[in-house]
């Protein structure tokens, strides 16, 4: 009979055990495969995420040429010709060509547009490929020469209608106008989509230069219509959008070199290649490197554990097959034949398990890719994966051989003997190797916790803890046995005797302890990292939802938001940043009164934020709002030169302008003037002006006592009695002598021979803007009071209300203050429409209107980008640390499942023998209740000790390691503290997190095992041993 036949029948006979070996072999192979497969997929995910998260216009490869025909001939070539040139160059860069989408060509130039009524506007005249497909057009699409489309809002602004003729003149290079017929009005379907590139087509409302209001771009039907002459500079742009999901890891180096080659090739044709692709890839490379270093090390403990368990299992199974092996020897099988017979089944199962494990490993990674990793990322069955599988297979075969060697080498009578073998010195050597590895990795961890070897420390500690727990169990059981003997307690004696004499118990305890420690470490690490990610996401976003928007100026945003969200569940925020001492200081202006309802600020609860909001606006004076007519009651004495008095008025977004109230005359008089463009109290008085009357040129000499200012008949609440509120603006008239006297009336004495008007600013806000400071103060003198440019270029005084560890959305270095006060202070000297460095945002609470973005768009505030805490969490969850820790958690769970399998198997393998022993004890008169109690005590020790030691070691290792390893992003380690940080982070997370679940699971297993321990006694009846029926 063929050996195969015997082997297969043996496998079928031991179907349960065979299935366990098959599963374990598959598991070992899957664990081995996991490192290369998951590592690769995670690296690809990081790359895809980085490319997808980057602005599409930045990631795209854009070929440009800009200038007049003399300076940039290529810009004046037809787009189609240029595309052919680029296509020729791309043909020599196949990898690059494969990841780029269809090109979008455009030609544009800055123009001055004149409508039929003679109004002038600034607008960009553009021809853009496929524009109409991305526009909602009312009327016809411009497809022919001399046809154009203008935007709906540009048409409204400029009074243009379909069918009108508009005249367009170049801003540079000539003045010849060209007339076009407006054939349709458009609204962009998605202004921020990559199709439009970074051409700035939809910039209506921004400063158009030379005072002309800017309109959205005018789209021409033919590209030649954009070329207004050879001298007129045009911008030719061909954008090749990147397809992020097509960029594979293997392509990266080729892409870099091909991009270089493309740049060189196109430079020869006077074309420039612009792309941020290399720097995006460079950023992703940091995470990829971290993954490449950490993933294999994280996978090692799992692989080792799998092989140790396989080794234990094969050893136990071979031991169990001892009588069969004895039979083979008895029948005259030689050494080779006996080994083939004894090990063949196991090896066959291992070989069969390898492809299953490979498939399972790849399947698990594919599952992770579909659920956790970036879209478009899939498992890649490349050669390292197969090499790992083959390596795992060979290692499993070696483990099986090692496990079976001792049994296979025994004599026939030795094989037939039922007495368990004693441990050998080899086990001690293996334990020594594990201990040495633990010491080495611990030493590495203490030096640098982020070192690769340091990552082995938790696993090595777990293994050493397992070994020690095994030994401890033996020692403890022996001690308990003696004690129980002396006291005559039978249940304790039975359990202690079992645990002290069974070598399998120590091995089981070792594996259980190591697995629990690994699970506890990985669960703790995951929880702490999850908390850190949640905190980071809260800190980074600052509110449940944040819309980055475009607005003309801060007040426009505030007004639009008030109309869009009357419920006050959202807040306008204006941000800027300044450099101080080469460090960036983030400035955040918030609507203080809405801060408590909207912001997420670590360290502040609702009450704290309410109190803080009150303090931010504590000393805010009422704004001096003016509208209609402004009247000043002034008592004046004037010199020889006729002098007039005026008011400095600030309209929202605009720079302050002087409204002259009238020529000063001696005595007390009212001076009045209409304030144009300031309906509904939208303007503010920001100062006074004294200047020569029209036609005068002599020195200004005047003394004024301003008793009152009224707007629309109502007196303005001005702080005449506060000297600090009135400030002579010396820049305009540096040689003037101005004296401002505060009191019931404001006294102003002016003597000036300078050309300009004398300006005295009025500040309706506190002298110092109250602010919360995070990080070091941007001042070397006084950390509480300092000047720093705020929203305007002029220095703004800040007073620190309190210090915070960090500011929402601004990180660890910045200033947070009231938006209204900051805008009022800035608008004294500057119009904020021109402040290009301001960034506008709307922070929305969870209960803000869901359609806030749409409503904002309806109010003319375009949403550029939306950020939410879950999105940020999702993004952080796909960074290298989270991906690595996820694998660690997976390894911990797998280890725990493995340990459960070992426990079940160790119980099952010896169950027959055990029942016979129990039956024998019952025959001798031991009551079932006593046996049951003994078994329960045994189970309690067998499981309780590993769970306790494992949890302590796992959490201890976490306390040791976590403060030093990156938890959220590469390069940023946790806090340097030890146990306090980790345990502190755990306390708020005692909800449905990994560690509490793991502890609950372990407790449940312990409870079930102890309760079910007594069941064995039920079947251990005396009939069992009658007639040798084992």
């Amino acid at each position: 009979m063929a050996g195969w036949s015997v082997m297969l029948r043996g496998i079928r006979h031991r179907s349960g055990r065979s299935l366990v070996v098959l599963s374990l072999a598959g598991f070992a192979t899957a664990a081995a495969v996991l490192a290369p497969a998951y590592g690769r997929a995670a690296q690809q995910s990081v790359l895809t995420d980085a490319l997808s998260a980057a602005p599409a216009t930045a990631a795209a490869v854009t070929v440009t040429a800009e200038g007049s025909a003399d300076t940039a001939e290529a810009a004046h070539q037809p787009v189609g010709d240029t595309q052919s040139v680029v296509a020729g160059a791309l043909a020599r860069a196949p990898r690059l060509a494969a990841v780029l989408d269809r090109p979008v060509g455009s030609v544009s130039t800055d123009t001055s547009l004149q409508n039929t009524r003679g109004g002038r506007f600034a607008a960009r005249l553009a021809w853009h490929q496929g524009a109409c497909e991305h526009l909602r057009v009312t009327g016809d699409c411009a497809i022919d020469a001399e046809q154009v489309l203008v935007s709906e809002r540009a048409a409204a602004e400029a009074g243009i209608e379909v069918g009108d003729k508009i005249t367009v003149r170049p801003v540079q290079g000539g003045n010849a106008g060209r007339a076009y017929e407006v054939v349709g009005l458009y609204t962009p379907l998605a202004p921020q989509e990559a199709h439009w590139g970074n051409n700035g087509y939809f910039a209506q409302g921004q400063s158009g230069g030379e005072g002309a209001p800017r309109l959205d771009a005018v789209f021409a039907g033919a590209e030649d219509d954009v070329r207004l002459g050879d001298a007129v500079p045009v911008t030719l742009s061909i954008a090749y959008p990147l397809r992020p999901e097509q960029v594979r890891l293997d392509d990266v180096s080729a892409l870099r070199s091909e991009l270089g080659g493309l740049g060189l090739a196109l430079n020869a044709a006077e074309l420039q290649v612009e792309t941020a692709l290399p720097s995006i890839v460079e950023d992703a490379a940091k995470d990829q490197d971290a993954l490449a270093r950490t993933v294999p090390i994280i996978a090692v403990p799992l692989v080792l554990l799998a092989f140790v368990v396989l080794l234990m299992l094969v050893a136990a199974l071979t031991e169990e097959r001892g009588p069969e092996l004895a039979l083979a020897r008895l029948r005259g099988y030689g050494s080779g034949g006996t080994i083939r017979f004894g090990l063949g089944e196991t090896l066959l199962l291992i070989v069969l398990g390898a492809p299953l494990g490979l498939a399972a490993g790849l399947g698990a990674v594919e599952l992770a890719a579909r659920t956790v990793l970036a879209d478009g990322v899939h498992v890649e069955p490349r050669w390292p994966v197969f090499a790992a599988a083959v390596g795992g297979l060979l290692l499993a075969c070696a483990a099986a051989w090692l496990a079976a060697r001792a049994t296979l080498g025994r004599s026939v009578l030795g094989l037939l003997r039922r007495v368990p073998q004693r441990g050998t010195w080899r086990a001690g050597v293996l334990e020594g190797v594990a201990a040495a590895l633990a010491v080495a990795s611990l030493a590495a961890a203490l030096r640098d916790r982020s070192a690769p070897l340091a990552l082995l420390a938790p696993a090595a500690l777990a293994i050493v803890a397992g070994v020690l727990a095994g030994r401890l169990l033996s020692l403890w059981s022996r001690a308990r046995l003696g004690l129980a003997r002396r006291r005559g307690k039978l249940p304790a004696m039975l359990s202690a005797a079992q645990l002290s004499r069974r070598p399998g118990a120590a091995r089981t305890v070792a594996v259980l302890t190591a697995a629990v420690a690994l699970l506890a470490f990985s669960a703790t690490a995951w929880d702490v990292a999850a908390d850190a990610r949640a905190q980071r996401a809260d800190d980074a976003v600052g509110a449940p939802t944040v819309y980055a928007v475009s607005a003309a100026h801060p007040q426009a945003l505030v007004d639009a938001l008030a109309a869009a969200d009357p419920s006050n569940h959202s807040m306008a925020v204006v941000r800027a940043d300044e450099l101080y001492n080469s460090q960036r200081v983030e400035l955040i202006g918030v609507q203080s009164q809405r801060l408590p309802a909207v912001a997420i600020w670590r360290g502040y609860d609702q009450a704290g934020l309410t109190e803080l909001a009150g303090r931010l606006r504590q000393d805010a004076g009422r704004p001096a709002e003016v509208s209609g007519t402004l009247t000043a009651r002034v008592t004046a004495t004037v010199g020889e030169t006729a002098v007039r008095v005026g008011a400095l008025v600030s309209a929202p977004g605009e720079p302050p302008s002087i409204v002259w109230l009238g020529k000063l005359r001696k005595g007390t008089r009212d001076y009045s003037a209409a304030v144009p463009g300031c309906a509904d109290n939208t303007c503010r008085l920001v100062g006074l002006a004294v200047g020569r009357d029209t036609g005068e040129s002599g020195p200004v000499q005047a003394t004024l006592a301003i008793e009152e200012l009224r707007s629309a008949g109502q007196p303005l609440a001005l702080r005449f009695d506060t000297a600090a509120a009135w400030k002579f603006l010396v820049d305009r008239t540096p040689n003037a002598t101005v004296k401002v006297t505060s009191g019931a009336h404001l006294g102003v004495s002016v003597t000036s021979a300078d050309q300009g008007d004398v300006l005295i600013s009025y500040l309706d806000t506190p002298q110092e803007l109250p602010a919360v400071l995070a990080g070091a103060a941007p001042s070397s003198d006084d950390p509480e009071h300092f000047d720093l440019p705020g929203f305007a270029e002029a220095p703004q005084s800040f007073g620190v209300l309190e210090k915070a560890a960090l500011l929402p959305r601004a990180g660890e270095h910045g200033l947070l203050f009231d938006l209204d006060l900051a805008v009022r202070a800035a608008s004294v000297t500057q119009g904020l429409s021109d402040a290009t460095d301001l960034r506008y945002e709307v922070w929305a609470a969870a209960d803000a209107p869901a359609d806030l973005a749409t409503k904002l768009a309806g109010q003319g505030v375009r949403v550029l980008r939306t950020e939410t805490v879950p999105d940020e969490l999702d993004r952080l969850g796909r960074r290298a640390p989270a991906l690595g820790l996820r694998l660690y958690l997976l390894a911990g769970i797998a280890a725990a499942l493995l340990a459960l399998g070992v426990l079940a198997l160790s119980t099952r393998l010896g169950a027959g023998e055990r029942r016979a022993e129990l039956a024998a004890l019952r025959v001798t008169g031991v009551r079932p209740g006593v046996l049951r109690r003994g078994l329960r005590r045994e189970r309690l020790a067998l499981l309780g000790l590993p769970i306790l030691v494992g949890l302590l070691v796992g959490v201890g290792a976490a306390a040791l390691m976590l403060p030093g390893i990156p938890l959220v992003t590469v390069g940023t380690a946790g806090a340097p503290g030890l146990a306090g940080d980790v345990l502190g982070a755990l306390v708020p997370s005692l909800a449905l997190d990994a560690l509490p679940l793991a502890v609950a699971g372990a407790a449940l297993v312990l409870l079930l095992a102890v309760l079910r321990g007594g069941r064995l006694v039920k079947r251990a009846t005396p009939e069992l041993i009658r007639g040798g029926n084992r």
Binding site: H13, L327, R329, G332, L413, L416
Partner: protein, 317 residues
């Protein structure tokens, strides 16, 4: 493959922690080809140890033992394996221990034949013939049944068949009838007789006098030595090479250990043992064998019954 066994001064010592136990203390035994021999003796006398030695499972500490042409003291492990695969068939105590539970009767026989085939044996009997030899083939369907589906007697006969699968010259069986009822035991005895008739030397270790009686020759092992032999219902003490004689228990009841005796050779070839404390009332010349008749009638048995452990404490007392 002649199935002969020769033991000369065979010694085996079990080395345990702190002390040694002499299991065989100089066994002299010759078994001719085609003989059927029952090894009898009390528990711990060394019967199974002798069987293990003859099977090549353990090595003698001293003395010589040959099975066929194989010198058991000098043979390598491979040679011993070859011997078991080609010349010797072994049946361990307990039928289940001789069988792979997941193979059918026929497959178990073939499993044993594989080993022989690997040692170059080609003229192996068909499994059916082997099963027929032990009387298993006549029972319907037994060929394809697994051990647990057979009766205990059938299982034991299957164990015999597996040991005979390679047509060995010598069959060694350890307690082949233990745990069997009398009907099954008789079937096994019949099977053993069939085997012997087929030319195989049969050596059986047993406690069962019925089995012993079924063998052509009974060798009693006592205290690690051949203590007696018998055949056709008679038992004889055997004079060892060193002149020692193991007295049977019934004689020991008369002459307890430590008794000084005088041996009187008699003209008729018999020897008279006289205790030293007794007055030699009867001189050797005056001895009449008929005088012993009553004694033998009271003490002697054709074959000693070792199925019951002797009450040594009473004997010593």
């Amino acid at each position: 493959m002649n199935g002969s066994v020769t033991c000369r001064g065979l010694v085996y010592i079990y080395r345990l922690e702190g002390y040694d136990v002499v299991a065989l203390g100089g066994v002299d035994l010759d078994i001719a080809p085609g003989e059927s021999v029952a090894l009898l003796g009390p528990s711990g006398s060394g019967k199974s140890t002798l069987l293990s030695l003859l099977a090549g499972l353990i090595r003698p500490a001293a003395g010589r033992a040959t099975v066929g042409d194989t010198d058991l003291a000098k043979a390598t492990e491979a040679e011993l394996a070859r011997m078991r695969a080609t010349e010797v068939g072994v049946v361990l105590q307990g039928a289940e221990r001789n069988l792979l539970p997941y193979l059918t009767s026929e497959q178990n026989v073939r499993f044993a034949q594989r080993a022989a085939r690997s040692h170059g044996v080609t003229d192996l009997p068909a499994p059916r013939d082997v099963l027929a030899l032990v009387g298993l083939l006549g029972v319907r369907g037994r060929l394809r049944q697994r051990p647990h589906e057979l009766t205990p007697g059938e299982r034991q006969r299957l164990a015999l068949a597996v040991a005979l699968a390679h047509k060995p010259g010598l069959l060694l069986a350890d307690e082949p009838t233990s745990q069997l009822d009398s009907v099954a035991r008789d079937e096994v005895i019949a099977s053993l007789e069939s085997v012997r008739r087929a030319g195989t030397t049969v050596v059986v270790v047993t406690h069962d006098p019925e089995v012993g009686a079924g063998m052509g020759r009974q060798v009693t092992i006592r205290d690690g030595r051949v203590g007696g032999e018998g055949s056709l219902g008679e038992e004889f003490a055997v004079v060892g090479r060193d002149g020692s004689v193991h007295l049977p228990p019934e004689v020991l009841a008369v002459l307890p250990p430590g008794t000084r005796v005088r041996a009187h050779p008699r003209p008729d070839g018999t020897v008279l043992l006289t205790p030293a404390h007794a007055v030699a009332a009867v001189t050797p010349d005056e001895y009449e064998p008929a005088d012993d008749a009553t004694v033998f009638a009271r003490h002697a048995a054709a074959v000693p019954d070792y199925s019951r452990e002797p009450d040594y404490s009473r004997e010593v007392a």
